[in-house]
């Protein structure tokens, strides 16, 4: 019978496009049945496509080859018996079906493995306090900030520490879409009581990326009630969001207001030193020898988020391993050329000057002149500091490019902008926006 199925595929190969074959028919596994063949699809979606688009043709070909009608049974699973090869084939059922409580914290995410810097130390401190005193310190704890900055790491670290201090504690971690999926499943199977019990019986509920609740009204409603129940029961809630929750559109006002009941902490993009430290820590964890100058180079060139740093490190390690080369500065530069966008390599002093002039709507000629009015002087200082940050030029070279200024003037500009960025939110936003504009990250 399997031979029959193989011949059927060969026949279909001549009729269907290679893409359709690869996508829908080749992932099927076949097994004999009493008077026909059982086909196993890896997921329900593939099963539906095969049933709707190809089943009639498959039956016709099989009948032709066998000289009699052949019954075809389609199911989700694998031929060697596992009904479902991996957890759930339907979209995001979460762990909805498990009656036993199962911890799903990632043991690698701990406070020990978290690299602390100015951009995230507040978040780390808050997460630790919550872990030492769950349900009492800050409830909810909300960590917000851009993607790939360590919010999920801190969340798991808090969960792991809670469990370490009290092994019996039930800590449940979920991605927001798993919460949505579990709720939809509960509605579908009319099992809302079980859903409620499951989420309200935990000691700590951790939900990642709640911005994806936006616009999902039933989910928000259900989450609102879950939140209230947990809050009243002094059970800890830890959430992450990609921005300050009040700025998330299509999130119910009453939910937004509750999110602000505890503590909201911003996680900022890591600064240069922290990026270098993160890179070295990750390299050590992976057993990859990365010299400090390479770490500095990568931290300077990749400033968007920690995942991009990690991807660069993976790529560098894979290439070094394949070519049998040690990771040194030259090799890293070569690899980064492939890795980074053309954009990121093309940051020059004239680019910076033009971008800053456009951003502040001042004339380029004024930016390069000796005029000292504040409206020009501040953008000029910012442009100098950006030149130091984003290019490899020396202070005297930068001074020269800004109308022949002394290198001490450039140094002063860098220090001024640095200290302003610490104290002035507006300045820090301008700085980050310009970096994003210039590096395309």
């Amino acid at each position: 019978m399997n031979d029959l199925w193989r011949r059927c595929l060969e026949r279909l190969e001549g009729e269907l496009s290679a893409e359709d074959m690869h996508t829908w028919l080749l992932p099927l596994q076949a097994r004999d049945a009493d008077d026909g063949v059982r086909l196993f699809a890896p997921n329900a979606y593939t099963l539906d496509v095969v049933r709707n688009e190809y089943l009639a043709r498959i039956q016709a070909v099989l009948a032709h080859l066998a000289g009699r009608a052949v019954e075809v049974q389609l199911e989700v699973g694998t031929a060697d018996g596992g009904r479902k090869p991996r957890a759930g084939a339907r979209p995001a059922p979460a762990a909805a079906a498990e009656p036993e409580f199962e911890h799903n914290l990632d043991p690698h995410y701990t406070f020990d493995s978290f690299v602390e810097g100015k951009s995230n130390q507040l978040g780390k401190a808050a997460a630790m306090q919550v872990a030492m005193n769950p349900g009492r310190a800050y409830n909810p704890l909300l960590l917000y900030g851009g993607t790939g900055l360590g919010k999920t790491h801190l969340m798991h670290a808090a969960g792991n520490l809670i469990r370490e201090r009290n092994a019996g504690t039930k800590v449940l971690y979920l991605r927001s879409e798993q919460f949505v999926g579990a709720m939809i499943e509960a509605l579908r199977t009319k099992n809302m009581d079980e859903f409620k019990r499951r989420f309200r019986s935990v000691d700590a509920l951790l939900i990642d990326d709640i911005q994806f609740f936006a616009g999902k009204n039933t989910t928000q409603e259900e989450f609102f009630h879950t939140f209230n129940a947990l809050f009243e029961g002094k059970q800890q809630i830890i959430l992450t969001c990609d921005r300050y929750p009040k700025e998330v559109e299509n999130l119910e006002p009453r939910l937004k207001s509750r999110l602000g009941w505890g503590l909201s902490v911003a996680i900022e993009p890591p600064d240069f030193e922290t990026r270098a430290a993160i890179l070295l820590a990750k390299a050590q964890h992976k057993g990859v020898a990365v010299p400090e100058d390479v770490a500095m180079l990568m931290a300077r060139r990749i400033r968007s988020n920690v995942r991009d740093l990690e991807g660069a490190l993976n790529t560098l390690a894979a290439r070094a391993n394949f070519f049998g080369r040690a990771i040194n500065l030259e090799f890293a530069q070569e690899t980064l050329r492939d890795l980074l966008s053309v954009h990121a390599q093309a940051v020059t002093i004239p680019n910076i000057q033009k971008a800053v002039a456009d951003y502040y709507q001042v004339r380029l000629s004024d930016l390069l002149s000796k005029r000292r009015v504040r409206s020009v002087a501040r953008p000029r200082q910012l442009a100098m500091a950006l030149a130091k940050e984003l290019t490899e030029h020396s202070l005297p070279e930068i001074g020269e490019a800004f109308g022949g200024r002394d290198h001490t003037t450039v140094l002063h500009a860098c220090r001024t902008i640095r200290s302003l960025s610490d104290s002035d939110v507006r300045m820090r936003q301008d700085w980050e926006k310009l970096i994003r504009i210039l590096t395309g990250q």
């Binding site: 019978m1 595929l9 992932p27 004999d32 890896p42 979606y45 799903n104 990609d242 993976n314 894979a318």
Partner: protein, 231 residues
């Protein structure tokens, strides 16, 4: 056990052993590993058309099947029907190869679906492989969460074979079919017909049967006539 050897079912042409690596040997090694090992790094192949992206992805699916892992290939550009549903639907295999990633850039629903698939496969220990015409940082993705996750994968840039390499590959493939291609024919094929090795290999198969049927040696006039007849 009466189960069909899985490897039989994947195409014979697009296997790892048929991949002419040229400058892409590192990418080949990464995919060979990802096809067999659960915990190998996820890879994003990035390169222009005809640099071997689809070949490597399909070969990875084939090698994974051979190693007893279930695999599925999903061409994001070529899907009929809603892409979001397909992306949400394909979970369940041990290895999933997603081709033409650039096709979903800007399609927020599809990007979100891929973001969910990414997280899910991470959690379930499945392997994801991607191919796109540019590195993730240069794709016009609208979901930063997806972009950063793709950024965390190992990037394997692919370069198309140069002319000499492509001639050598085509000559070898022709020889495997018992066809001898002389330089004049090769010149003509690359200049006039197609530069894409896949298309040229398909042509070889047609040449094979046509020249048998016509009992002719393969020459430029013969080629011209055959192609004219094919219209």
């Amino acid at each position: 056990m009466d189960q069909l050897p899985l490897s039989l079912r994947w195409p014979r042409q697009q296997r790892f052993e048929h991949f002419a690596p040229g400058a892409n040997a590192a990418a080949l090694a990464l995919l060979q590993r990802a096809a067999r090992e659960d915990d190998a790094p996820w890879v994003v192949l990035a390169g222009p058309a005809s640099s071997g992206k689809t070949h490597l992805l399909v070969a990875a699916c084939q090698a994974a099947s051979e190693a007893g892992r279930s695999a599925q290939y999903l061409p994001l550009a070529g899907l009929r029907g809603p892409r979001e549903a397909a992306i949400r639907g394909v979970a369940g295999s041990a290895l999933i190869a997603l081709d033409d990633l650039q096709a979903i850039a800007g399609d927020r629903a599809a990007e979100h679906a891929l973001f969910d698939l990414y997280n899910r496969c991470r959690a379930e220990g499945a392997t994801l492989l991607f191919a796109a015409d540019a590195p993730p940082a240069q794709l016009a993705l609208t979901l930063p969460d997806l972009r950063s996750r793709l950024g965390a994968c190992t990037l394997a840039p692919l370069k198309p074979l140069d002319d000499a390499e492509r001639r050598a590959v085509l000559r070898a493939r022709a020889a495997a079919r018992g066809i001898e291609l002389d330089d004049a024919v090769l010149d003509w094929l690359f200049a006039r017909h197609a530069r894409d090795l896949g298309a040229l290999t398909a042509l070889l198969d047609r040449l094979d049967s046509a020249s048998l049927a016509a009992q002719r040696r393969i020459t430029v006039p013969f080629l011209r006539e055959l192609l004219a007849r094919e219209g």
